[in-house]
Symmetry: D2
Subunit: 410 residues, 4 copies
């Protein structure tokens, strides 16, 4: 029988942390004994427990520990985290510790260090900067041979996301992505969150797909940007292209946004729009030349709001600003997410998952799509931080813009 003690603190019962830990131990065939259990007597008091868990083999115990650690349990050992050198550039030691998106701490020289730049599926390195130790997350492609990388799972501690103590939009609607719920209320909740984020000087990130242009919703998004509620936009070639197509030709994928008719073969307009911007050299240059005079990209350029366009293999063209190397694209996005508090992801599974991979768990994420499967997939990030809304993107952006405008005037 292989045993280990762990401890847990905080709102561990109603945040579903302790039940999940008990489930995990049993699912892996193990057992547990509570040595101490002090329930928080009221909703504001934290709980505490210390339990001994066991498993039939050392391997099963290791797996169990790795999992309960990810759920927030601290392994009660007085040992530092172990570090090993990367065997070559772009390669971690084979037994590296793979990160979650939760706030993480590593123990070195008997002290706990917070890990910077939390991101899933990365490694942890400890750098000595000016005599001070500094722990940080690093993607595998960035590691240099010889850098010291955390391995195993001792000396590592995670801070789980707890249920908020008050009623709030992300808590109550998070798990619900039904098509059959009133959407106005969810949008009203989001409007509050956005206004609070602005008041705290925190950033709002918008991640968008081409349906924004196809459904004629680009005009609503342009107004939201103009009102200052988007601090950075991530998208692909498609949203930018069809937004510019609309500005140049009045169509999106060749369908007129005024009449709904196919004006002409769709591919014509969008590839022509791309060629035109390529002719001028950049979106900025096309705006300066007076060729591009409306739309989402125009508004971003005019308001000097940064955007990152990442390429994909299904792109036509692409536009000059599109970053065609996907690793460079990821790094370009990483550079912008430090201060983001809210990420609004609209009608793009590819970009939403990509951004979700990069974001720390603390960022509140709103995912809007007409396809419930997409929302389910994206909303399922194991925290109380996600709001999924199954609805039409056109009506979502129209309503969001209206409600933001209404609160402005109060």
């Amino acid at each position: 029988m292989f045993e280990q003690k762990i401890e847990l603190k905080g709102h561990i019962v109603d945040s579903y942390i302790l039940p999940q830990i008990m489930d995990t131990i049993m699912d892996l065939g193990g057992n547990y004994v509570f040595e101490q259990f002090d329930i928080g007597r009221t909703k504001d008091e934290p709980s505490y427990c210390r339990m001994r868990l066991n498993a039939g083999t050392q391997a099963a115990l290791d797996e169990t520990l790795r999992l309960v650690q990810r759920l927030g349990a601290t392994i009660l050992e007085d040992r530092d985290c172990e570090f090993k050198p990367a065997p070559r550039n772009g390669v971690f030691p084979l037994d590296f510790y793979s990160t979650t998106n939760l706030q993480t701490f590593v123990r070195a020289q008997g002290k706990w260090f917070p890990v910077d730049k939390t991101e899933m599926d990365c490694g942890i390195i400890l750098r000595n900067a000016d005599g001070k130790l500094n722990a940080m997350c690093i993607p595998v492609t960035h590691i240099k041979k010889g850098e010291m990388v955390a391995v195993g799972h001792t000396g590592i501690r995670l801070e789980p996301m707890e249920r908020d103590r008050k009623r709030e939009v992300f808590a109550f609607m998070g798990s619900s992505v039904s098509t059959e719920r009133p959407k106005e209320l969810a949008i009203a909740g989001l409007v509050n969150e956005m206004r609070e984020a602005k008041a705290r000087n925190r950033k709002i990130l918008l991640v968008g797909g081409p349906a924004i242009a196809h459904t004629g919703a680009a005009k609503y998004l342009s107004k939201i940007i103009e009102m200052g509620y988007v601090d950075v936009l991530f998208a692909g070639n498609a949203l930018a292209t069809h937004d510019i197509e609309t500005a140049l030709y009045g169509t999106s994928l060749g369908i007129s946004l005024n009449t709904g008719l196919n004006e002409e073969e769709g591919h014509q307009h969008h590839i022509r729009a791309i060629n035109t911007i390529r002719f001028y050299g950049s979106i900025q240059a096309a705006v300066d030349a007076g060729v591009l005079e409306s739309g989402v990209m125009y508004t971003l350029v005019k308001k000097n709001i940064p955007f990152v366009l990442c390429g994909s293999i299904r792109d036509d063209g692409p536009l000059p600003e599109v970053i065609t190397d996907v690793l460079e694209g990821q790094d370009a996005m990483r550079a912008h997410i430090g201060d983001v508090d809210i990420a609004i992801m609209i009608s793009t599974m590819l970009h939403s998952i990509a951004v979700g991979n990069l974001l720390p768990a603390r960022v509140r994420t709103v995912c809007v799509d007409i396809n419930p499967s997409v929302v389910t997939k994206l909303a399922d990030r194991g925290s109380h931080q996600t709001l999924g809304i199954v609805t039409d993107v056109e009506s979502f952006l129209r309503e969001l813009q209206l409600q933001l405008a209404a609160t402005e005037n109060n």
Copy 2:
């Protein structure tokens, strides 16, 4: 080699009638020879063709003829339709002619008679009323032993639906149910159609599911009813129940439409709402008693607009007005569809398919659902008469109400 001559008239090329007939003959392994082909030289001139089609067996020829007849071909024979007596109540002769929803004619005594009450999957009977022969559609459950029912397929002719000669909302959007299309334009087209129907004194039928209540859209539908744009409503127990639940408790399936929160266990409110109406004896009685004071059902009662509530096996309760026998329910709906020109079907697959089965092909049908599969299934009725819109029911009804109100004021 088994042969038969057929002929076709009208806009048979661009309405896809002739190509489908050629496809059908080839799919069934046969061949054809055009004996005459006079193309309509301009878009307003009809075309005419006469062709000889053949097949390897009499059975294959019969099947081919049955199919091309359904597509609008006339079988060139100088014979009357054959009629046989129904062998018992509720049973057709085994070789009965099964109807389509297209306008149909039967030949008797050397003359062609139009068939009344066109409906799919029924039989045709010829009744002698005051010395005049009268052909009509009849469902199998209504047939009486001994009545004369059309059999085989000679002496029967159908009038296919042709493409309209002008651009219009049902023609251009019909085949397209994409989530990625601008919805405002489709709604604007529908508003025009609804206003024209009112101007012609024709009826608008609304078929609705409970998502109208769940999403908080009942208030928009109530206004549309109040404005006179619904002449009859078909629904099930669910829409009426949750609409009344909202009126009595402010919730739908227990979810508050003001806060989006679960106020209380959902089933409580809806079963209590049903019990309350049962206590008063009817929806009308509850309105008269001042208990029910708002919502879709309230507005219908107040405006004296007829509704049919048909039961299903998943109903709780049900409400007193619900017709629990499904055959009686079908008959109750049949009684209302005579003058209907437009049927708007919202978020209910069961009722929409049921109503679709009863409607003649000429009725223009708009199907709105957030699930593209439902729209595809319902919009696929083989005619230019159907408009499918994949969107959120809340935003659809809000926008429809706004646009109807806007045109009212012009």
Copy 3:
């Protein structure tokens, strides 16, 4: 401040009962104080807690109590349940207690009585049979004026569903309905459950939709029935009709199951199949006459296995056995569910929801559909008893039949 004591026993932490209760109290704006909390020290020891909960108003307290009671909390009061007479036939007292599908107990004359025939959204009556009190669930349509019906929520206790103490198929896959999971394993787990149910002499219920016939899977289901793994079948007119259409014409909705081609206009065959059975008077009579010689309905008749066919308003025909009154249909199904341990629901949302409404929570339910939304909707019954499988019905039934046959031979 309005207060009440409640208590909880059992595996209340890892079965997510206590966390949900804490959530509920907080969601409704209340607070709680644990007076006693004895955690089960190991996985087999039950836990116990007694807590005082409070709310700002009596109404909020009442709602909170109703909800936590549904989650399994016992309200600590030494009071019997209150009963009031039904005001008329088919109507409960306005403040009746509305049931869940969990095992329920009512307190009368100082003793707790188990409630028979547990079903959601019903009332509870107490009958005196031969001097013995007998509590049972009753649907609103069955209540007679003057019968005593439980009201309020004191003197009522529920037994929540607890997580199983061992790994098992329903526990681990229940929440997961992903299309991207290996299906063979889920089917292997189901095969085990089905064999165990047979060994215990408990019933297996199959609820099926017409896709079983359309996809050519009726032959697999027929074999499963022949092997004795279906004790009762619930379906609608459509499954039976298309199954019989296949037996008579080799098609389903007119599409040949041998060639995949449209043999002839679909509606022809299915309405002819219905008419033929109507001609013979019943499915049984058609089997006896040697007209119906294969398929699901044939096998059921031959093996003397009961089936219930419930009508819906979208039915053509229908077949003679179809119960056209929906309340009679519900009662016919209720008569068969007493000994059911496993319900397998395949490709029918209408019938699956209807049956789900009637089943007690203890029945293990497997829901199979290619549409993830349907599976999500049906699998979401708040217990550890449901397994959702998103897959093709043809491949599901083929694999299930193969695995059942394989285990037979061991």
Copy 4:
């Protein structure tokens, strides 16, 4: 009134070419007059027509001509195509002719030249190679300043796809992507097509997503590859990673393919698998080292079958073989599609659309996905060349492998 003559030849009625042309003219507000119409009297005789079409403005006429040209009409003018120099590297002349995926001809020096490397949304250049003129498609990113690019739409002719004269799998099932169809027949048809392609020495391309690994279907695909039915594979980082994860750890995304249980935190295994391959330097090297011993990638390496792995911004790692620049990825795929006759696309919208953009219309495409929307989107390429199958990828590949093996043994 602006006029132009066009002509059409071939099976233009039942291939829906002429009806679409008539629709297009009317949709754009124009009219037409048939000057000559010679119907093919039997199914094997081609038809011919010459028509005069007109429009209200020159712009409307130009748009109409562009569209009907894409549908296969030849514009009756005795003029060569016009060519203009590219204004700079990577930029077409602003009025360039944008290609379709149909076989195209350009007229130069009074003669018609076939255009090589047909691909959508590209330009056409005319190169002089060894004194011979050579027309070819070129993507915008590849164009060099000064190269002569086709502009406008005169002197360009397309060869439309015609309906096959015999019954066949792609013709009859093409438009049907229903979940409610028998799949075995479609797979049998595909097996025939694959065997015929092999007999003709033409290539089969497989495009796959990670669901192949997640559902445990990699073992079936590996066998299909081993039997020689895949000539080249296109995928992303995800399929290769999870396939290798399965080989190394027995899991896919951390879920055991033997037990269906979460063995351990999913992200651990897949990122470890990537790191391991990165450690060895390549998939080939890991196979050589005896580390990778089974699965799809292993089989490809062992059988020396080429594969292209294209990166996307949602990739973790990625594996060393992944091409991280999307334009390089497109070029790598272009290099392999010359001899491809059949493209089988399984469970990946991103890669399927990307490959679909690159393929000429003549390539028969089979698209398999459990999500009907994906199949609809991909199958909608306007030709008789596409077969959409909505089903579970596991059961599709199992059945395909079984049927291929069965025909091998005959």
